[in-house]
Symmetry: C2
Subunit: 251 residues, 2 copies
DNA sequence: CGCGGAATTGATGTGCATCAACTCGGGTGG
DNA sequence: CCACCCGAGTTGATGCACATCAATTCCGCG
């Protein structure tokens, strides 16, 4: 969102090492020299800006990307020239794993705000995982986790109403930010209402109305792109419990 | 659906070898001795029957499963005791990859009809992939493919109307059956209307009405669980083109 | 300062869920 | 072998959540 000072190369390096560590290696103990080997294949790219593409649908698959700071959205063309937003990617999160299969990207990735992104050439990563079993296991876990997240999304789109979807979206952001040591209750949305609606399978107007309603109900404070969550437990109730005074789910 | 004769062990072995081959190794050339090593860790299970579980949500993750014959559905609990059907798995398809991350299954897998299933202990598979780079690459591709499929599902649930969803469902089945050398236009549905609706985010009644409509329009013939697709191109138009005389997609 | 896209808010329409009634087929027990 | 039963599927009537249309305001930016 802001950049108080020119970020030194060292800062990037350290931060990037951090993001590599936490995303790829945190849960498994990886020998320090292996971390070093992993670190060596990571390319640091200069800061990217709003609107820049990491890759476009159809591009040959070469690398996966890790968000260091900022945010990225991925989206695929839908029928009739429209697009489906597939995800918003925050610091520490990985982009591009879906391209391994066809060796080509089947979605596009666009930077939402000034962001620092690490690029990891997949061929080299694959060599590395061959010789480091625990890193291989990490890769399997990462891929598997992605499947799990998509499953959550299917559940959201298949079974939840508008209210539940937006509550789930906000809580999801909150938790992911918290994981990175950022405030889980006070943050800025880097994406537009339109993109949120597209992502959640809702119309812009519905998103807008729900923000207003949530605010009126004291669940949150909304000022343009600035969000303050005032009542996380209540939001959790909305998501999990299928909404108190709402229709119950089919089946 | 039927079982003309008791299947001999050899038949199972050969068929299972086939399914392992085609799912895990077909696209990459794998040395014959490596295929042998892979084949050795595959467990053959006796035929399973309608209602049997491969695993339940929460079970410790030990193996992935490959459908040899028959079909399996996977589903996760939704809010309020309901369930979300996550997928139907046909011969040659793999189940359980989503459990690697948490080392526990986060969905259940239930057999829809008498089926033969291969079990592959994941720990042993992982050992194998460490020493066979091309097999490791195959695993990455399989996991990545699964992500791509989930993405398709998100697009379907987020952007398609009832008609498009059912058309996409039928075409999907058709193509997957064809891949296994079965008829792409004449097949039996092993799942109930209820399960189809649940999977597609639709009510049973809507599914039923659409079957009737499609039949009236000459797109297909429906008799109970027996399906004949009479006009694949027309179905494809329904899916891709967002329906000729229908509302256009948002954005 | 003024333009234009983003967001909000209100009014209206509709696709599909829901409710309800009925039919069908398959399995069971007498 | 048939009568019964029960769950699955179909069909029709109604309602509602959310999309769509329309008008206005708001803010960012040149």
């Amino acid at each position: 969102m802001s950049q108080q000072k020119v970020v030194s190369l060292d800062t990037i390096r350290v931060a990037c090492r951090n993001c590599t560590l936490s995303s790829l290696c945190l849960p498994m103990g990886l020998a320090p020299e292996d971390v070093e080997r992993l670190d060596e294949i990571v390319k640091r790219t200069r800061p990217l800006h709003r609107g820049d593409f990491l890759f476009r649908e159809g591009d040959r698959f070469r690398s996966i990307y890790v968000v260091k700071t900022g945010s990225v959205k991925t989206f695929a063309p839908s029928a009739e020239g429209g697009e489906q937003v597939l995800g918003f990617h925050l610091p520490g999160e990985i982009i591009g794993l879906d391209a391994i299969d066809k060796d080509a990207h089947n979605c596009s990735a666009k930077v939402l705000e000034t962001s620092a992104i690490c690029e990891i050439p997949f061929a080299r990563l694959e060599e590395l995982t061959s010789s480091i079993p625990s890193l291989q296991h990490q890769m399997y876990r990462l891929l598997s986790k992605e499947i799990g997240q998509d499953t959550d999304m299917v559940l959201l789109l298949g079974k939840k109403n508008a209210e539940e979807r937006l509550a789930a979206f906000l809580l999801g952001l909150s938790q992911r930010l918290q994981k990175r040591g950022l405030s889980p209750t006070d943050f800025y949305l880097s994406m537009s209402r339109h993109e949120i609606g597209n992502y959640l399978g809702l119309a812009v107007e519905t998103v807008s109305r729900l923000f207003t309603r949530f605010q009126d109900d004291g669940l949150m404070r909304v000022d343009r792109k600035h969000i303050e969550l005032l009542n996380l437990p209540a939001l959790e109730t909305l998501v999990g419990g299928a909404g108190p005074s709402r229709r119950q789910q089919q089946q």
